[in-house]
Amino acid sequence: MNTRSKYLVPLLFLGIFMISCDDFVEDVEVVSPTAEESGEVFEPLQFVTGVYGRHTDFAYGFSFLGITEIISDNGDKGSSPTDTGNDKNLLDGLTHTTSSVSIRAMWTQWYKTIGRASLAIEYTETFEMSDEALRARLIAECKFLRALNYFWLVRSFGDIPLQHLDIINRVSTTEVYEYIEQDLLEAIDALPQKSEYEISDLGRVTRGAAQSLLAKVYLYQEKWQDAADMATTVINSGQYDLASDFATIWRASGENGIESIFELQARGEIIAHGIQQYSTSQGAKGTSGWGWGFNTPSEDLLNAFNAAGDDIRRDATIIFAGETLFDGREVSASVENPRYNEKAYSSANAGNGDGDKNIRILRFAEVLLIQAEALNELNQSSAAINALNRVRTRVNLPDITTTDQESLRELIWNERRLELAMEHDRWFDLIRTGQASSVMTAHGKPFITGKHELFPIPNDQLIQTPDMSQNPGW
């Protein structure tokens, strides 16, 4: 073998080795198929379900309680003294700050839900589908959910950015309400009534739900005539009525009943999927307990029930230490706190992270109270009394007879408090009606007028968007 070929052979085979083998890296078998490969086509329905699904987030099981009830005169933080529940102690004491996590959680939760709703609407609008009626209904469902979340945002934070316009510049409350009204009006046009849905669609947004929310939105803006009209429309729709037994509304048997207008759906059976921890976080804590013991009805609320002689609603709203519940559960006298929220109690899945507890968002009694309040403001007190007394009669309370606008107003507000106690509205009613300062001060909380009417824009948001303005006083 001559010298030249001595080099040649190995060089050659190294060459073979090296020539353009770059496609080796493209040669891996793909194991996890992409969405396309799996042939999976996402239907608009799935994204709409995703918008509903966002309402089962843990934020509603814990943070929501803090900024709706614990902060108000209805609820105390509860649980053991050392367990702060992140910032529930601060909310309870009205010493919450711009970095309180509950506020940040709800701010984010509501905006992300709005994001999902807008994306689902976009997807549904462009998706090829033959059933135009379904398309219109799905879009309308999303619009209701978007409006609901904007409503929760605007009453908590005041001026806020509208996500589709700009996420930094805050627009006025009026403008936000206009957008909410527009969504709701469009939804009302396209949505079926509760009775027009297939039974398998139970739990979806109905025309009545959109109308009821719109009535509430008008009420918050003090558009009394619109509020009264819209409430009347719902009342006269023939779709709803008061449930005969107040206490059963919050039991599993009372889910989606005649009084129900809109509620968040939860299932307790495997595969369980509930509003994360909603029942657990408010369950009795300690011996014989099943939960963390947060958001306990305050002594002030108990006194309010007692002062009104309102035993039925008191006993349906409050679990007392030492009591035996309707389902036979014995609550030890030595549980951590004297009272717990019975409206959050689930018989079957008391301590489960995923329980069967539906959260009642809108129900017929509230629509009656909206009608009563609006009519009273329109000086139609006798009509207002009718609606009010419907609510009272159900719980064996004597009829109200006064037609004095001032005193009737106070009575309606108090009725709202007792009827809707622990249903996540009290704090905003206090703010809306201008009672917050006096009530909270009397309750021993350091309410600062001009500051505490609104929650602060979360500090983490301002770190990300430093150009966004903060609320006054924060």
Binding site: M1, G53, T56, T97, D356
Partner: protein, 1053 residues
Amino acid sequence: MKCLLNHRSKFDKRMIRIVICILTMCLFQTLNAQDTTLITGTVTDIGGLPLPGVNILIKGTNIGSQTDFDGNFSIEASKGQTLVFSYIGLEAEETVIGDQTELSIIMDAKTSELEQIVVIGYGSQSRASITGSVVSIASDEIIKQPALTALQSIQGKVAGVNIIANDAPGATPTVIVRGLGTAQAGREPFYVVDGQPIQDIRSINPADIESIEFLKGASYANIYGIRAANGVILITTKKGKKGKAVFSFDSFYGVKTILNQVEMANAAQYTQYFNEESAASDGFLLQENQRYDTDWYDELIQLGSTTNHNFSVAGAGENIDYFFSYNFLEEEGINDSKFGRGTIRNNNTYHLFKDKFRITQNVNITYTNQNPKPFTAFNNAYRQSPLIPVYYDNGRFGQSFVNQTTGIAGYEAAEGESVGRLYPHGNPVSEIVFQDEDINTTTLQGQITAALDITDFLTFTGRFGATQFYSKQNTYNPIRERWLNADPRRTIEEFEAGRIDTDGDGIISTEFANNSLQVIDEEYYRWNLEGFLTFNKSFGRHNLSSTLGMSRENFGSRERVTAFGYDVFEEERLRSLGNRTSSFFDNTINQEFNQSTNLQSYFGRIEYDFDQKYFIRAVIRRDGTSDFVTGENFFDNFPAVSLGWTISNENFLKDNPTLTHLKIFAGWGQLGNANVPFNVQQVNTNAASGNQNYAFGPTQSLIFGASLGSPVAPLQWEITEEWEAGFDFSLFKSKLSGTVDYYNRRNTNAIINVQNILNSQSEGNFLAQAAEVSNTGIEALLNWKDQIGKDFSYNIGINFSTNENTVENVTPGFDGETGGTLVNGQITKRLADGEPLFSWWLLEADGVWQNQDEIDNNPSVGNAAPGHLRYVDQNDDGVIDDRDKKFFGSYLPTFNYGVTIGGTYKNIDFSIDGFGVGGNKIYNGLANTRLGGENITVETFNNRWTGEGSTNTAPGADRDALASSYWLEDGNYFRVNNITVGYTIDEISVINKARIYFTVQNPFIITQYSGFTPELNYDLDGDEYGDPKGTTGIELSAYPTTRAFILGLNLQL
């Protein structure tokens, strides 16, 4: 051209072809003979003893020979040629052949570092030619400190390599080379054993290792391209040496105890503290006379042990050298965990065709058996009240029950009395007892290397290696026993009642399953194939060498099958999912498969020097990986250059009596890290209780929905650039030698986890290449060695390194990811521009509230009370919130140092090693995350605030659980990690050498830290070690550092 080597089967055939090809070429290989005479002689050491196995080479050729057992040799050589005699550990000798034909050579036992061969990846260089930071560690340094992995053994010995040890059986130490350079990507250095990349350093027996090379400098590490950014660690295993077979037997046994036990409060102290705390919130009080005074750490911790037996035989025949070893190691932890490992290694080299063709075969089989125990037991033991017994009189485990009416700890209560709990934490001893887990692994590693000398200056090397790994993990969970022991009042009848399907709906809660069994089977396969040409030739005073090659690898595939079921037999031998005591609950099975990665690489290297004075080196690596095929840049080049000047070889310094050696060097290079996470999922769905799903209909059927994830932003691998400069020197005839260098390393496109703007449409976080991470530092190494008289020699080594870690140039608005989340939800770390990676970010504690007046007149957190810590209102807005949090440095040390002192006097040898770190802060999460009612340390008890004016430093018994600077402590420590004394006896009967030694590992530590160990690399989230965004640097459930007393024996036949 379509690639030929696409599949495994094809590629096996290909391999055979390559081997045939090489063999064929060798057959035709011819040699030119010259006119020569036969030279004979003997080689002895300075003591006159014959040296067998000395290599003899005619300089400038490949012709060589070796001495026989009596030190005799013969070789054909011609007049004027130079014979080079070399022997591992001795200085090489050169003799020019004159007229004499018989030589008598004496070799000096003094090693010359400059002659040392340094492995650098696809080749080697002599130490004298190295122009960058490459540190070699020899085998004796490794075996001196017995440990599971070699890396733990050499902690504190390599400047610039920060090794955080973990003494838990089976744990891997965290190794950080020249600072932590990434937030999201892989942090592991790249390990290569004899040219073969390996997955798990634990599969290598430290006693099999001949040397470890750390390619610290980027100009050296870059030959491994996209896997080199975290440093490259090359391990060379032992080979047989010429001469008669050497049988070695090494055995040691040691016991381990906890090094730094923290003293916890006793029953009286606990009761007092509890009552002070309880009084503040009007809770119940404990009585002074209680039934128990349990020391939980005494109950939990036992004596650990370590046992090791190593047997090896090494030698060489005419055409083959061989090394065979067997090792068995067993560690028993102080928490009853166990780890056992057996390794079998066989390294053979066949020297064919007058050593022109060499085939090396490396086989390594490792099997392990592990019974881990939960580290959370250490955390729970810290929290257990001394009032609780380990066992109640009825045989059940003690739990935190207390009779709130009588104030006596216990579950007994009379009518009308109420029983509550002191705290929610369970019994740590029961955790250990109920944990029943068995993990068995087998790792098979094999490699064949063929090297062919085509000419005397050109060599081709081809190599194929493969690894197959199997693991089986059985976890048995005694649900029934756990249920019964969670509350001593529970009865078996109650449990059985829970198993009855009273409503007949076919559902029983798995809470009432008797037990469960989980079986996980896992395996992976990986292979590597490479070929390269090495050119090595001198042209007068010009020395040139170069390497050119390519490699191909497949790794990362992993199949995992998990089977799970309830109600299996209790007896271990009967446990199976197939045959169960009841089939009420369904078995579940899950199989996952990870896609593998194909890596294609090309590399080239040129090294040139003029007269061993001026050095220049250039390297290029081109890497492509299948992970990025759909992304950007799936091929890229990684260049490097380095320069060196050996000033001491210049004429003006050549005969300097003081300065033996001086070289300055500088280098620059690029490294990659392809082990990065990706932005992938666009449509989120969930098969369980995800928030995409919702219930509709009268029976509330679960309807599965979807939501859109964050828009996908493409990512590519991280690229790190580094430049370094330094000098090597030796003085006083090499008695003093050292290296000093400076490095500046920068991850130019670090991936960070960015939170979508809170009120934006997109959900979830996304990853973005939006930051740089820089690491700069100085490394220094000094060695002094000398001999006094005939019998005493000694050496002292000191190394020191600094590191400054900074996150820089973050895209505005993109930083702020928080980490270090404690069990109570408190956050302790944050990633921010201008700070080290995930620095401490805390409220600043500034004294203690003395009275309500102070609280009312100053900014305070909600619920502040006298005795609570007060925090600084950094922004003076009258409110204490996140905006008042401040950065307090990092858990990463800013400097490390190590000291080694060794010596021999006649037959006695001794050594002391120590090392330390400084400039770091660590967080005492154990003390901070107290919910209330748990135990405290004696120190906490003694220092506490007890009323106005008592102290303004430590909080009282009633305190908040916010994360603050109060709980942050200095992480500085200095630990003597090894003291060894040995005695050697030479030649007793058949035994050539016997050494008996006694070692104390970690005899003492100097630290101000108040917890168990300042070395905190374990993350609470799963099995991850050293995650900067996790709980690294926070003591929560850390395995305490242990002290070991070891007695060992080496025998050589």
